[in-house]
Point group: D3
Amino acid sequence: LWRSSQAAVRAMSSSGGPSPPYTTLAVSHPAEFVTHVEFHRPEKRNAMNRTFWREMVELFNELAVNPDCRAVVFSGAGEVFTAGIDLMDMANDVLQPGGKDTARKCWQLRKKIVAYQETFSVLERCPKPVVVAVHGACIGGGVDMITACDVRLCTQDAWFQVKEVDIGLAADVGTLQRLPRVIGSRSLVNELALTARKMYADEAKSSGLVSRVFPDKEVMMAGAIAMAEEMAARSPVAVQGTKINLLYSRDHSVAESLDYMATWNMSMLQTDDLMKSAQAAMEKKSPKMVVFSKL
Amino acid sequence: LWRSSQAAVRAMSSSGGPSPPYTTLAVSHPAEFVTHVEFHRPEKRNAMNRTFWREMVELFNELAVNPDCRAVVFSGAGEVFTAGIDLMDMANDVLQPGGKDTARKCWQLRKKIVAYQETFSVLERCPKPVVVAVHGACIGGGVDMITACDVRLCTQDAWFQVKEVDIGLAADVGTLQRLPRVIGSRSLVNELALTARKMYADEAKSSGLVSRVFPDKEVMMAGAIAMAEEMAARSPVAVQGTKINLLYSRDHSVAESLDYMATWNMSMLQTDDLMKSAQAAMEKKSPKMVVFSKL
Amino acid sequence: LWRSSQAAVRAMSSSGGPSPPYTTLAVSHPAEFVTHVEFHRPEKRNAMNRTFWREMVELFNELAVNPDCRAVVFSGAGEVFTAGIDLMDMANDVLQPGGKDTARKCWQLRKKIVAYQETFSVLERCPKPVVVAVHGACIGGGVDMITACDVRLCTQDAWFQVKEVDIGLAADVGTLQRLPRVIGSRSLVNELALTARKMYADEAKSSGLVSRVFPDKEVMMAGAIAMAEEMAARSPVAVQGTKINLLYSRDHSVAESLDYMATWNMSMLQTDDLMKSAQAAMEKKSPKMVVFSKL
Amino acid sequence: LWRSSQAAVRAMSSSGGPSPPYTTLAVSHPAEFVTHVEFHRPEKRNAMNRTFWREMVELFNELAVNPDCRAVVFSGAGEVFTAGIDLMDMANDVLQPGGKDTARKCWQLRKKIVAYQETFSVLERCPKPVVVAVHGACIGGGVDMITACDVRLCTQDAWFQVKEVDIGLAADVGTLQRLPRVIGSRSLVNELALTARKMYADEAKSSGLVSRVFPDKEVMMAGAIAMAEEMAARSPVAVQGTKINLLYSRDHSVAESLDYMATWNMSMLQTDDLMKSAQAAMEKKSPKMVVFSKL
Amino acid sequence: LWRSSQAAVRAMSSSGGPSPPYTTLAVSHPAEFVTHVEFHRPEKRNAMNRTFWREMVELFNELAVNPDCRAVVFSGAGEVFTAGIDLMDMANDVLQPGGKDTARKCWQLRKKIVAYQETFSVLERCPKPVVVAVHGACIGGGVDMITACDVRLCTQDAWFQVKEVDIGLAADVGTLQRLPRVIGSRSLVNELALTARKMYADEAKSSGLVSRVFPDKEVMMAGAIAMAEEMAARSPVAVQGTKINLLYSRDHSVAESLDYMATWNMSMLQTDDLMKSAQAAMEKKSPKMVVFSKL
Amino acid sequence: LWRSSQAAVRAMSSSGGPSPPYTTLAVSHPAEFVTHVEFHRPEKRNAMNRTFWREMVELFNELAVNPDCRAVVFSGAGEVFTAGIDLMDMANDVLQPGGKDTARKCWQLRKKIVAYQETFSVLERCPKPVVVAVHGACIGGGVDMITACDVRLCTQDAWFQVKEVDIGLAADVGTLQRLPRVIGSRSLVNELALTARKMYADEAKSSGLVSRVFPDKEVMMAGAIAMAEEMAARSPVAVQGTKINLLYSRDHSVAESLDYMATWNMSMLQTDDLMKSAQAAMEKKSPKMVVFSKL
């Protein structure tokens, strides 16, 4: 397993840049049914510009329905994962809304905030699991983004910063909504969000923000892809149904979530994948040896 | 305290099998007001068959109203806690719903899923605290089950596996709904549910799935029973009201939960137990020396 | 930074007692825009009497609208943080509601419970962050209280006890509602609430109840005040909007919380603080060098 | 159509009393797939005694899974629909809970209230539509009951009374929860519940409590059975799915309800009933001429 | 009954103005346990000024705990019920918030809106039923207000106008939140709120906004007081519990509301009022002949 | 007013068909800021085909952001409003999902149902009010559609039919979710949905489904446009904020909705429209004489 993953990683290293038509994202396929998306503005420390926000929506809406994609790995090119919002590029958008009437400026700003929120919500609405691999800095919008991914991994040198209060605003594209749900210490969440202090890999691990820490980026990428392969090897009906129901239960009571789950599985249990998988399990075969129809 | 518990454990060891009328569950009373329920299909690695699902509902509905039961310890007989669903026994039920019409097959399946969910929901609806003690493997349905218990303990050799995606389905009897609420790292929850990898005792402890790890099963059982004795020794009005309100607050906002709590306690504070307990506390007596009326 | 904080701590040490008109609370200003509130009934081990409950509401309602307060540190004077409810003082209130009719006694009790809940809910409704610093014992009502604060710190010798079941009642002023939301292990929450066992600083840290442990009280107080200074130095529009939205998202779904956030920030992004902060950030200035208008 | 219904009504008239094993309920089958349930304690003006509460649960749980029942008509035998709770029979239950401890009396009372609520909630959980036909008086518990039915009809001489405040309690088995959801004027709901005044057929119709008023009981019963036949003649997959989703949407937001609906119909649309029904519709055939498999 | 009410009305007519310390509200006691609150700024067509907003909160907070008040009638003095907000008086408050920073102006405005909302929310939080009697015009803030009352009555010459869009704002003190819940036609609600057209008494009755229309103000006042007497004559435990639970069920699902109701009544059913009322009912006595303890 | 509207109606009558690029929708502008959308497949009795579903989304997403549109009138061309779903056109889509695996067919169907639901949800998400004018038949999908509009009008000869159970399915694009929220009688909703009986104009009016009935289509169109003009003449900040908050309050509790409203209006009250409108109101000018900036 790991050998092929490492080969894949080496293959990826030769990638020269963004994949057309994208200009901020490089897309590759390091393993069967696995899509690797790389944020690729290394010269700008992967700062999030307007192009990035738009391309994320386009790409993930496409991946959501692409049957050849069953799991996604997301990472950043260059020195750091991301420096966060590209203030220069976005200044006009956010800092100088048009017109003189306060209400009308609000109206325009609200539309933009909702659109930026959407950029990361597509990560959730995409039913394929998204594993995010963080190295170096993950600042501001970067934290908003990774909390919308399903599994978070990082390198030993990674650090995280909820930067927004430092530039005079309450984080509004996801961190305040999702961070408290992905880690177990509210005291820590509040401390991070109210003081903008940095958190390093060890605390990220012990607090549960990431579930694994790797010594360096190369090892992490191999691990991330191997994990995505595990997900991609299992029945897509099972895996994607699992993601959808995990997210449902986050936002509903246990009773409501059990009801939804039963209504979901009353049909999904009739899939052929169940028999194929059960048989493979009894025969002690790896799920990777089973061929599932496209979904 | 521990001595008597260990005696109790030894006493239990001599139990020869299920307690009639049950055929999969052995019921004993290792200490006053403490009920020990043992899953007893050791020859089948405590695989969950249809009889088990039915007996669980019957037993816990009975314990819910039995005034001599104030706390429950649940454990598994034999080598492992549970191997999960007994696929052989349940195949007809789930894999081959009757009839040809898709809608009607769904209708039947939904009823069965709801019934299976009920098996573990009775653990929550029973107002007496349930301490679950896990040794060896806890697979698939086992994880669904323990997340519906109140306190989770395990031995050093225990391991946990959200197995469902391996057999082609999204877990539908509680894991996806309750696991994210009982541990603090959503990244870990997702990783476990989407890859079916095993988690061992150390990670179970550091992630908060279990609150204590014991060196072996005998010590764990003594610890579990001692803990249940502590719960059983306190006012049942206080203990059971605590469980009911903890579960209520899980599924409601803080404001709603405070309102419910006030409405609950406006009468429960009038219990004689309050005066008895307060007096014992002032006199530095153990709660075990107070006699509370049956509830 | 730390030097000035330590000076502030020394200054505080000379405080002789409660600040009129309060008789249980000492209020001081160890740093600009930082308010230090000290629970000051050391001779009673800071037991919560009826005066305390009333004064907390008065004080925090005042701090909520006081523009000179941008962050609060709360701590206890004397040997311990708090011994919890002052049973002697409150006995008449709670143990002997007037009248003979059960319904009417309930009616009176409910009003009192709601009023006591309010004492800690004011901590949440105050939009300024509250950092609580715990040393020694934090018992019963103390746990209810600290779970309503934003950041929790403690000394190495601190311990926490959900004491209520020991005196015959289900905790009704916040612990059962907030504790499961501030730490990541539900098994631990249940164990603490159902057995009333003590939890020490290490477990408080590993479970996420506190986000930092300090060697002793003096160091902790310096750390707490330094942290509050960090919060107070940033834009109050950003910091207080962050607190308000963190609490909102605790009690609503992610989708609802994002919607609220966008509606909030459509106007708050128009603050001058944003430009001031962004400029300072680009110039690598500390937020402390920026002057924000009062809020 | 009406002719056969009237014949059925006549046939029913000859029924001599309750259907064993029931002693308060007479069950008959006036038309194919239609079950008629008659409350049969005419000598007690159909007062609701403990036997009735229990039998309702037994019967409707049975009807819920009986494939030969696709629609239910509920009515009362004798002079009036129901005089409400049988105070004499229930006095011991409710007025004199056992024991001396307030908390323990509450505990017992709560169990009983929940059980009584269940009596009417079974009407909702039964996925087959329930048409209730009211003549004469419908008092107290009668209003609780009819608000849990799906369609309400009455005779010109019917009257309704939310009686509970007259006997010193807030209605606790459904009226306060369901009445505001079944009629359109909250001012009227409040007036009825807070003054216990009678409401007659005309106001019941104009307020929307009933959807049709009939001149006398015989005509009403024919109309009720004809309506039930219409429901029973259509695809049970469609009709029961409609009831389930109407109830779901009552208690959830529109967005949540649409999501649930889509998840429900993704399988139910695959039923053969759809093709059969569509074909009949195109051929202008009555649904009654289509044969649907049992559900 | 009516005779005494009419005498009471005549008595009230002699009232010369507001009751000190109030300057916009006249308070009287036309019948036992009934409080009549009259909006008394006839020379300003009962326009809502800042004094009124404040006095409403003070008065209804007092009535909420006054045991001599068991039901309230609210009406307006002079020609009309109310002309709505007093724009002149409130212009400074709302139209010219202080300061230059948009965020800070928002912050101040939000506090004021919340305070104004509170003015009408006290009507709901007061557990005693509030019957509102409308004559002549009820404009803008008047509609916000009456939708927070429990029962709405009007004269034949009354008319209602959701005026806010006419002056350039979305109604923000209750109409948009409560009007759709008190009448049964959403098309009508939207039409009224989006066009600001007037609605007259007949449509108010047929749509369910009011539950009764009276020929003139004198008759209406007699009717309103008679209705309040009916409420005041019944067990306050029953009546106030009914109001509290009706409001609870408005904002929660049926299942949640039934649960709350059971938890409420487990103690309230133990009131002596139940036995007293039941006995009176059996003896065919009027509730007015029963003496209930104060609540 | 009416004269110009009638002229506009006459002008529209000359419209020859759909407005490119649309092939099922004719778009015109009968009055300033008013858009008239006509469903234009008269030769197919305005049956909803796949093109219609797509064009609705495109058009209303455009209208949502078009500043020249402040209110919308929707009607149907030809003999009837709509015959509902075009079964022939959609048969492939819905009746024969591809593939053999049940789970995969469900997956595809769910996507389609969600897309169809979206067609009508755009009517709600468009912040401009939508007045729908119904003549003749409004069947099946037509009812789903009109319940997503804001104001419903009809002619005397209109009739409505929740047709879905007749063709073997539970209505899944909005009727079961929205109809109970727009009319006041749940008994009627259930009767209509479970029996598919027709409802005529009078019952539509008395039940609150429509807020006005007109003698014929020409008069209705004039009335609809006049009503839309009233809406379009008022401040768009006020009108659109009203629609957004009315929809918000439908799906949230009163307390949550008031909070959202305050957060919304803290900025929207700063609009210049408020001063302009207030001044016009004081000068007794019509809102139509005020010029508001585009939104």
